[in-house]
Amino acid sequence: MTELAQAVVNGLQMGFLYALVAVGLTIIWGLMEMINFAHGEFLMLGMFAAWGLSAAFGLDPLIAIVPIGLVMFAFGMLVYQQLMRRVQGGDPFTQIFATIGLLFLLQNAVVAAFTSDYRFANDTLLVRLGGAKLTLLGLTFAVPLLLAAGLALVLFLALYLLIERTEFGLALQATSEDRDAARLVGIRPQRMFAVAWGLGAALVAVAGAILVNFFSVYPQVGLQFTVLAYAIVALGGFGSILGTLLAALLVGVIQSVTVVYLPPAFKDAFVFGSYLLIGLFRPQGLFGRF
């Protein structure tokens, strides 16, 4: 029984990290209903950046999230302005197609620069805290994961406040509800979209920078996170930030509980199986808008 409880606790912590990975997608999708196959590639770039800065300058990933976030914000806006803006009005499949092309580009640019070898961040704060544990109520909390989850939660809350409590966030929401009405009150949708892409890219890259403490770094690492992020966003209900958090926690728990009883290859299968099950009863996800 404690094994199960332990799994749940570990899953919740991972869930906070997943929430950070997925929330950028929620913003982009919630605003523009755009599917982005390259979402995980932004994460991969964040990972490589964090690893690179750590290996070259000894900069800890947890500090590096600031420059990485800023750079990726600009990059996300650039991607929107140069590519996504052109395909926005057209067929949704063309948008998907465009992001697949982006995926090839980004992934292989990194392969060209760094090869497909696996890399590890060795000398970071969280890695050095590797064995440290905290025991509470008979459950063990690995300190690195706990700290990472805490950081992810803080960032997530900051984003939530940004969206719900600031004028900018309201403008973002207004644009997603009704583009033309937003225009009428002086909001420029194009600008909102660019910022949304910037935010989305920045958040997921920052998540990658945090995750570099736990996962190996290689150019193809992105796709699994893209798929998982979509499942989370859909499960929570496209466009709902709160839904994303809850769904991410749920996914984290499902994954770690599954691993207790079954081979690890099944953990994602159970996540998606749960999605199908929930989808049958709530086709719009847990907090979806329609």
């Binding site: 067929d91 092309g101 090839f104 580009l105 292989n108 392969v111 060209a112 979509y230 499942a231 086709p283």
Partner: protein, 333 residues
């Protein structure tokens, strides 16, 4: 497709591998095989994606179902390839219909994730189910039969005419798929699919059971993918879960369809003819030599895709010069 272009194309396709055979360039026959296979899959995907307008990223599951069904029937029961193909198509159609019906209450992107979900669940099943060989996969033993007819009937080609044989086999399947889908396009099914795509609720208002027809569209796509899977299985002579379930089996046909023009019957054909040779050429030029293993070919490939998407979002068939290749009643696209 204007008649002249059709005839020219058919002759070109039939004649294409012959000079290659005489010169010994069998690699290019294999490229042709891949073009035809992906074009066929693209035409199949067009039914659910282009006509019915559903986001479906999971047909590779039925590609694998087809490959495994035919391989199992051959290995365990000695059932010939073509008979196995018929069985595989039926099995895939039925499995897809049963799986998809409950999913039809999901709309748009939720439905898309559901199709991905089935794929994600299929992966560990494929890797661990011993009946189908698990991660060790299935091997199709080669029993070379002498003679052209025997080889064609058993779908097993070997020796110097191996690539040639598979090319013609894929041409036959491609032609059959094209003909059948053309019939579907002009039939009640085709009309109903497009109605659902344009406005599902309005379609229901004129008596169209949207759930049934979404299931039918997806199952037809599944059937085509299964046929492709059978062809693949007998070409590769083995079926492994990672290879058969690879996402590329759907993304490549989808990309070909988008490049060529989604919703147009010949779209995937044009797209496949363009994309696959480019990918192959680049992997043999940029992917080898001093830049090998650095993914440069894929960078260029990605760049091409991005440029096409950015500057010609409606697909290449919408370009003026492509009007010879378009259906005369173009408004049905």
């Amino acid at each position: 497709m204007s008649r002249i272009a059709l005839v020219i194309g058919a002759i070109a396709a039939i004649v294409y591998p012959i000079p290659l055979q005489l010169q010994g360039y069998t690699y290019y026959q294999t490229v042709g095989f891949l073009v035809l296979l992906n074009a066929m899959l693209g035409i199949g995907w067009n039914v659910v994606g282009g006509w019915a307008g559903q986001f479906d990223f999971g047909p590779q599951v039925f590609f694998a179902v087809g490959a495994y069904t035919a391989a199992l029937l051959f290995v365990k029961l000695g059932v010939g390839a073509w008979l196995g193909l018929v069985a595989a198509v039926v099995v895939a159609f039925l499995i897809c219909a049963v799986l998809t019906y409950p999913l039809t209450r999901l709309r748009g992107h939720y439905f898309a994730i559901a199709t991905v979900a089935i794929w994600m669940i299929a992966q560990p099943i494929g890797a661990t189910w011993e009946f189908i060989g698990g991660s060790q996969g299935l091997f199709i033993p080669v029993k070379p039969r002498g003679g052209v007819v025997a080889s064609a009937l058993s779908l097993q080609f070997s020796g110097p005419t191996k690539a040639l044989g598979y090319y013609y086999a894929s041409l036959v399947l491609f032609a059959i798929t094209l003909a059948l889908m053309a019939l579907v396009e002009r039939s009640k099914l085709g009309y109903y699919f497009r109605a659902i795509r344009d406005d599902q609720e309005a379609a229901e208002g004129i008596g169209i059971d949207s759930r049934l027809y979404k299931v039918l569209a997806r199952s037809i796509t599944a059937a085509v993918f299964a046929a492709g899977g059978v062809l693949y299985a007998f070409w590769a002579l083995s079926v492994f879960p990672e290879q058969a379930l690879e996402l590329n089996w759907s993304t490549l046909p989808i990309m070909a369809t988008v490049v060529g023009g989604i919703g147009r019957l010949w779209g995937p054909v044009l797209g496949a003819i363009i994309l696959i040779p480019i990918a192959q050429i680049m992997s043999t030029t940029l992917g080898t030599g001093p830049l090998a293993g650095r993914g440069v070919d894929l960078i260029v490939y990605g760049l091409i895709i991005v440029l096409i998407a950015a500057f010609r979002p409606t697909g290449l068939l919408s370009l003026p010069w492509a009007r010879w290749f378009r259906l005369r009643r173009s408004a049905t696209a």
